[in-house]
Symmetry: C2
Subunit: 709 residues, 2 copies
Amino acid sequence: MAGKKDAVRKILDAVKADKRTSLTAPEGKLVCDAYGIPVPKEGLATSAAEAGKLAARIGFPVVMKIVSPDILHKTEAGGVIVGVADAKAAQKAYATILANARKYKAKARIEGIQIQQMITGGTEVIVGAITDGSFGKLVAFGLGGVLVEVLKDVTFRLAPTTKTEARSMLEGIKAAEMLNGVRGGEKVNKAALADVIVKISQLVADFPEISELDLNPIFASKAGAIAADVRIVVDFAPAAPRFRPKEADIVKSMNRIMRPDAVAVIGASAEAGKIGNSVMKNLINGGYKGKIYPIHPKADEILGYKAYKSVKDVEGDIDVAVFAIPAPFVAGALTECGEKKISGAVLIPSGFAETGNVEGQAEIQAIGRKYNIRLMGPNIYGFYYTPKNLCATFCTAYDVKGHAALSSQSGGIGMAIIGFSRSAKMGVSAIVGLGNKSDIDEDDLLCFFEQDDNTHIIAQHCEDLKDGRAFAEVAKRVSKKKPIVVLKAGRTSAGAKAASSHTGALAGNDKIYEDVFNQSGVIRARSLRQMLEFARGVPVLPTPAGENVLIITGAGGSGVLLSDACVDNGLKLMSMPADLDAAFRKFIPPFGAAGNPVDITGGEPPITYVNTVKLGLTDERIHALILGYWHTIVTPPMVFARNMVEVKKEMEAKGFVKPMVASLAGDVEVEEAAEYLYQNGIPAYAYSTEFPVEVLGAKYKWARGAGLL
Amino acid sequence: MAGKKDAVRKILDAVKADKRTSLTAPEGKLVCDAYGIPVPKEGLATSAAEAGKLAARIGFPVVMKIVSPDILHKTEAGGVIVGVADAKAAQKAYATILANARKYKAKARIEGIQIQQMITGGTEVIVGAITDGSFGKLVAFGLGGVLVEVLKDVTFRLAPTTKTEARSMLEGIKAAEMLNGVRGGEKVNKAALADVIVKISQLVADFPEISELDLNPIFASKAGAIAADVRIVVDFAPAAPRFRPKEADIVKSMNRIMRPDAVAVIGASAEAGKIGNSVMKNLINGGYKGKIYPIHPKADEILGYKAYKSVKDVEGDIDVAVFAIPAPFVAGALTECGEKKISGAVLIPSGFAETGNVEGQAEIQAIGRKYNIRLMGPNIYGFYYTPKNLCATFCTAYDVKGHAALSSQSGGIGMAIIGFSRSAKMGVSAIVGLGNKSDIDEDDLLCFFEQDDNTHIIAQHCEDLKDGRAFAEVAKRVSKKKPIVVLKAGRTSAGAKAASSHTGALAGNDKIYEDVFNQSGVIRARSLRQMLEFARGVPVLPTPAGENVLIITGAGGSGVLLSDACVDNGLKLMSMPADLDAAFRKFIPPFGAAGNPVDITGGEPPITYVNTVKLGLTDERIHALILGYWHTIVTPPMVFARNMVEVKKEMEAKGFVKPMVASLAGDVEVEEAAEYLYQNGIPAYAYSTEFPVEVLGAKYKWARGAGLL
């Protein structure tokens, strides 16, 4: 193992000494050799005669390519001739390439001409690696060729990657079927291809200075995978990684911040309308039971609490300080917090990086690091942690306790979270504003919520991830225990920067987020409302025991739309066994349809819903139910709702616990029925066939990612 | 013109006489020749010697193919040799092919071997045609090759197609960029390619017996497009088209049905809970001003109205009869309606085709045709037409008048329409149940609503289109005047039937709907809720004068999500001219961001929203506004809402009329504000950045399709 690293280190040292930014083709081949990546037979010829002999030894046809540290785009320089068929042609090609190269760049240093075994046949694919500002080293896979480039059909994983992940990349492109051999094409050796991906991902992980890498094309066939061309770009002065405390320290600090025994309010005020007044009121009226220390330069008492000039004047320990003072005063007060050994600062004030005051933000970051104070914000609304009745924010108080922890990068989105939560009676454990993320970011929150028993689901809105790699690493672990939903805004921005490599050019920024989220078991929300609905609905549902979903519907029309939604959301409509079909038929009219959906037809009384749903809950081959209700006089909305909740409870008591969602079609009374169902553990929506299925789909996505299915 | 048709007719007659189902390659070439579709030079050789001579005359390399009416899959039979390089090779190939063919099928009739100019280079594409059960003749276009097959990247249009539509097909595939020349590839001659599409579409329109056709591959290059292989499948006994009255007759009947002066209720009842009782009550309580005739075998009077034993006993004219009797009695009563010259029958009863009673349905269809009665249903809830206060249904009455006409194939979806409409205070002109569509279907409704001044938008839920071609033809015309929204359920069903042709195999049923809807200017809703939201929001918005959309937001976070939604919905975020940027900057804080979105920042008073929105409405380079509101104490939700409505009205009075939508982030009070905005012409949504943009996107989609942009 050391041997291969030494070999590569030696090559990179030489490149560095030469002050070059890329490797020559022979150097690239040596790197591949060191890591066991198959490449064509080849050699370097320095004369036409030698070219002829070498080519004959390798076997015809061969490809001939200029080797020059000064010529990066070999084809453009006329430095490549393919399909050289015999020794005489090889000699001639040598002369031609040399002449072209001279013409292209007269002063180019030419080391010779590479003679390479020409590989044809098989499927052309590309494996590459790039360095992303947030995620670090990523390995990429796609099919080769122009059409794939047009369709941007590439997939990414964090490097290094496992064999299993590499195999998932082969299935992760739209044109995956091509690798199985289509229309007489040959099925490629997927193990060999995955092996190349794993090795490349290890290589770039071992050598951070390899900033970009292309194996393009790789000829993949039944026999194996051979990289016909290798391109490696290096950067010996990479950006410093973002500071990240040890996880134990993160958890310790975050616990003091989120579950404090004592809170200081810096800039507390008795004057209504001031932020420092709102924060005080929210702490008090929210019912927080810990100590509250208002900090104010002059006041002796604020809203009945003894006030202090500085946190340093407080006798007892303080866990967290909420800042409600203008930006220019933050640094001074923060230093005092440091001296007082306060664990966290909730920086409500704006006026930092978001207004161009980058220096001001750097200053407080430095203070935070010096004194080991974790900073939330600046430029935030603060946070809520309901198990402690803690409203450390200037917004309205929030008190519906529950198990969803939400965060937002933006204050506006935070307000939408609060409004929706209140309106939908969504129980939350925490709502956190992250703002400028000068320090505390999404992965810090994940670490806290992971060990917070009050939190069962984590939903995060973000516009970027300052440290995507840290996020992914933590998310991968946490998502095994609790669902993580992320709304990544800025999806469609022109995020893909121009990059010098082929792989880089193919990398849409959003595609990287998409793939890394998938790799980390994160459920991606497509919209704000979807994030909110997932946060509300996913923890309500029990985890399904299997993939078989059954639709039971009074409205045939809803059944069709619910089926569409199942396909859209990756749910598997179980195919109905004959005995089960017969069992359902006993309960429904002769012109109803069993199968899946089970169409009980519209005119049925409540008992038909009850009987079929009972059967759906008890038969062990069925793992989840989707109900389609049709408002009729025979079965009014609230009658349906109460019956369903009863059946659910009765069956649960008998040990039959399955996720169940409902779509209600009817007049306005269905809104009340949907609300009742939801509050009783059956996520239900009026006038929508897609929302309930999306929520069930999110639950399934999580369960699969967590290895529970 | 007649000449080309005669030539093809002659060939088809011969095929028919032979009782064949496909044309030979030479026949296919003759068909192409007749319609001016370029094919390679070729000829038929019946001996090895002739093969050599012919090949030399055509020019090498050539392709050689077996010609036999008994061998359809030539490659499989070893009947094709490509790249034949000289006369000697041609002679040898002749013998080889002949031997292979004999081995493959000893008794195959062999007419000779086709020698064809071998076309290489350029981009391989495919043009084809299929016959769809609902849409009839469709022409298809896609790239050639295996990868495209895997990705199912094909597009369809109704045949015959225009040159403009054919050009739109070239842009309508995902890999469209390939035709422009990628990575040194050659830009293809699009005019030549479009010409082939138009000609093929004309050919299949001229000859309905051509059921499937493939030109695969066509080599498209700068020089032109040459079809290297032609395959034509015929069916001389096509299915009879669905009956369709003349449009003038449709409109006349539909007007009598939807706006009747006299309604009979067959099966009217005084007994509460009966359907015939509900219908009577709805007619009466709904406020219908026309004549109401209850029909009942015994009663003299029902709910204060004189009752009759039969419609034939009524003295005055009757326009429409609502049926509230069991299925077995429908045929008899319908015959009496016919004798009474009633224009339409609203067939509420179920128990027809949907329960397997296909004969019963055929019987009433026949009666309808005999007496020229148009049938709505059976198996429906009836219909509402609010301008006449007409509730011809057993459901609850609906009275919020307005301009959206909705229909549904399914009763459950109809109930969801009613509930949503009432809940959202959506004004409707009509809600119609179509059920089994034994007669009246979506295009009949389109014809009526087209000329109904009370209707400004038409939204239809359907599971299939019984006559997709009629629908498309009518929709194409009507959508120029009024937006048509369609929710096509069964999107994801395995609708693509196995077909014997390549084009057929590529045709996913849903892709055809998608393309035909686009071709017809129909806005396709992706979900039930989306159809409802479009029906509600699109008519509220004025038509934009251009493509420039501007976002003005108090919440930067909403701005990013709104931008995402714009891209998702095909909206163009205008790039901000310097002078306009400066003008906006005057109104916003120095750390706010002009550009697009205009981020006025969260802490601003109402006047900042007012000033920026005023500017947005007055500057003529801006064509539509998306507002992002952030709930703060400084600008509470209802203050924002009232201000926006005032600004809108003030600017409208000055002639500045632009579509404007809003996304509201905040605590629960934003729900009231959203409602107020919506009721005053600004579609607005709480806790959602995507819904308002989707509605604006739908308006734009319609305006583009109608040629207004």
